[in-house]
């Protein structure tokens, strides 16, 4: 098993810049998520780790060894494709043993190894079956079997659950995470599903337009987004943004939005002009006394909570409140903010301003 370090990795396709100067480290044994919308460069990054694409510049270290320009076959990593890519002209057992035979392992040893892996994955009964007739989940297990059979340094997975039905995906993601915990293998997992990333990942890299927006453990990324993009991409519903013109100076503990003063964590940097206040829906509360006012336009019932949509002077916001609170659409109410959870973003660059609360995450994360 291995540590994977990515330094200033860049990839151009002609004049299109797919990945720009990415830097992050996947620690040994970590379950690492590459998260972002489609076209953000996450799959390209993964393919460069695998050796299916060559980087334009930058380095990839696997276990301290620079492998950026090495062939895929020399990197000792395994790749799980979204479309499984099981060899259709071979049966299940042959598919799993195929990577072993390339290493010159004898057929008897390979057969023993395949049996072992099949037992781990619970597909002993399928080894003689053609891959054509298998269900989606079984195909995924065979693809995993082909990946784990040769005990590679790392597993790279490109949306491995993307082709499965929603219902089954849940089950497979648990199975995958359990398998990882048992084997302790370094795993890099590409997904565009923020829930999947939060559920399964030890650490997450959020990418957008080829740029690493943030890199950290799921809770840090959720609580203290480094950019407005991350704040919007993660969470359902996403963070609310109130765009306003104003000023922040170092040491401030409150902001003025229009006429209203709102308490925020102590700010550590100064900014002026277009600013954005970010607040998660669960950090908003309806309160008649609160000075920031809004009109309730909709309420969605979700069981234990409800999502209330309000129109305010600085934009539409959503609040997640307990479902027993009675709300009536068309009425006006006050909105109270959870002061210690707020983030202020630079309105132009979208970067989060450093405060006492997110300082730890943004500077050291």
């Amino acid at each position: 098993m291995a540590q994977i370090r990515i330094e200033n990795l860049r990839k151009d396709f002609g004049s299109f810049n797919a990945v720009k100067a990415s830097t992050f480290t996947v620690e040994d044994g970590e379950f690492f998520m590459l998260l972002g919308p489609s076209g953000c460069g996450k799959t390209t990054t993964l393919r460069m780790m695998a050796g299916l694409e060559l980087p334009t510049s930058g380095e990839i270290y696997i276990d301290g060894e620079e492998v950026g320009m090495k062939r895929a076959s020399q990197r000792d990593i395994a790749f799980v494709f979204q479309m499984f890519a099981l060899y259709p002209h071979m049966n299940v057992g042959k598919n799993i043993s195929y990577p072993l035979l390339s290493q010159g392992m004898s057929r008897a040893d390979a057969r023993r190894k395949v049996a072992e892996v099949a037992k781990i994955l619970g597909i002993e009964g399928l080894l003689d079956r053609p891959v054509g007739g298998l269900s989606g989940g079984d195909r995924q297990r065979v693809a995993l079997g082909r990946a784990i059979v040769r005990s590679p340094k790392a597993f790279l997975m490109d949306e491995p659950l993307g082709a499965l039905d929603a219902e089954f995906r849940e089950h497979m993601s648990e199975e995958l995470r359990a398998l990882h915990d048992r084997m302790g293998a370094t795993t890099v997992y590409v997904t565009h599903d923020q829930l999947e990333a939060m559920q399964m990942g030890d650490k997450i890299v959020v990418m957008n337009h080829g740029v690493v927006e943030q890199f950290g453990v799921p809770q840090q990324i959720y609580d203290w987004p480094a950019t407005r993009f991350v704040a919007a991409f993660i969470g359902s519903p996403p963070m609310n943004f109130l765009d306003f013109d104003g000023a922040v100076t170092a040491g401030d503990t409150e902001l003025t939005i229009g006429e209203t003063r709102i308490d925020v964590p102590r700010q550590l940097e100064a900014a002026m002009g277009a600013l954005t206040l970010g607040v998660r829906p669960e950090h908003l509360h309806l309160s008649d006394e609160a000075p920031y006012r809004g009109e309730i336009v909709a309420a969605e019932y979700l069981g234990t909570t409800q999502i209330v949509t309000l129109d305010t002077a600085f934009g539409r916001v959503k609040a997640r409140i307990p479902s027993h609170e009675v709300v009536r659409t068309g009425t006006h109410t006050g909105l109270a903010f959870d002061a210690r959870t707020l983030t202020v973003f630079d309105g132009v660059t979208g970067r989060a301003l450093v405060s006492e609360a997110n300082h730890e995450v943004l500077v050291h994360g």
Binding site: F79, A85, Y87, P88, H89, S102
Partner: protein, 312 residues
Amino acid sequence: MSFSVTSPSPAAKWLAGILVIGYAIITILPLVWIIATGFKSPADAIAYPPKLVFEPSLEGYVNLFTTRTRVTENDFAALPPASSWYEQIVRDQGMVIAGPSRYGERYLNSIIIGFGSTALCMVLGTAAAYAFSRFRVPLKDDLLFFILSTRMMPPIAVAIPIFLMFREIGLNDTHLGMILLYTAVNLSLSVWLLKGFIDEIPVEYEEAALIDGYTRFQAFIKVVLPQAATGIASTAIFCLIFAWNEYAFAVLLTSGAAQTAPPFIPTIIGVGGKDWPAVAAGATIFLVPVMVFTILLRKHLLRGITFGAVRK
């Protein structure tokens, strides 16, 4: 896969059956006619109205494979009794066997040139189609169009230049010359057809093989080729049919050593009157290899081996 919601009515099934049988009869009839004529006597072959029931005879086949000559009546009477059944058939016509005909050699030429050019065409075509399908080839579209454009003129338009070229470099009337020529003509078709088939094979298979520790060439041989088998088989059939049936180039560029069967068969007509049974016999035997080849590869044409292995 899709299924219709309602199954067809019995009347529709009957109608479909009748149409298929009718079409089969129409297409099989000429074949039956040729095969039957091969077993008729010359008189039966040209009888009018045509004879559907006749006494089968091997005269056509014997005449196809022999050259015969007439001898004077005295010499004929002095001959020892026929030593074999085919000699007897020739004697019954009042002739003696002078030697074997050239049909066997010409037929062998057809086999060497037809299968040789098909094999070469498959090797080159698969390699080129793979490159066009997978690699960034400069001016790819222009090159593909150029390859196809060689197909746009009739063979006769280039026959004279090719004849002169072949004469100059000594390829006239050689097996190698004909194999190269038929390969060149067929290559455009095979590159285009095979590129289509290879485009259909998801590139992930090769990437998986690369990661599993194989070189690109091994991945091509072990992963791409087995999946392209259906395409290769059907393309090979097209190439073989063309090379096997080709007449214009063969007439012009071969006369002796490398002459194929198609230009030879018409020459049978001239030997001792219009010998239609011999022509029909030649045509019947000529049909066999392509039929056998097609039947052998039929299962590849029908088998959808990639179904279900990749979810699209």
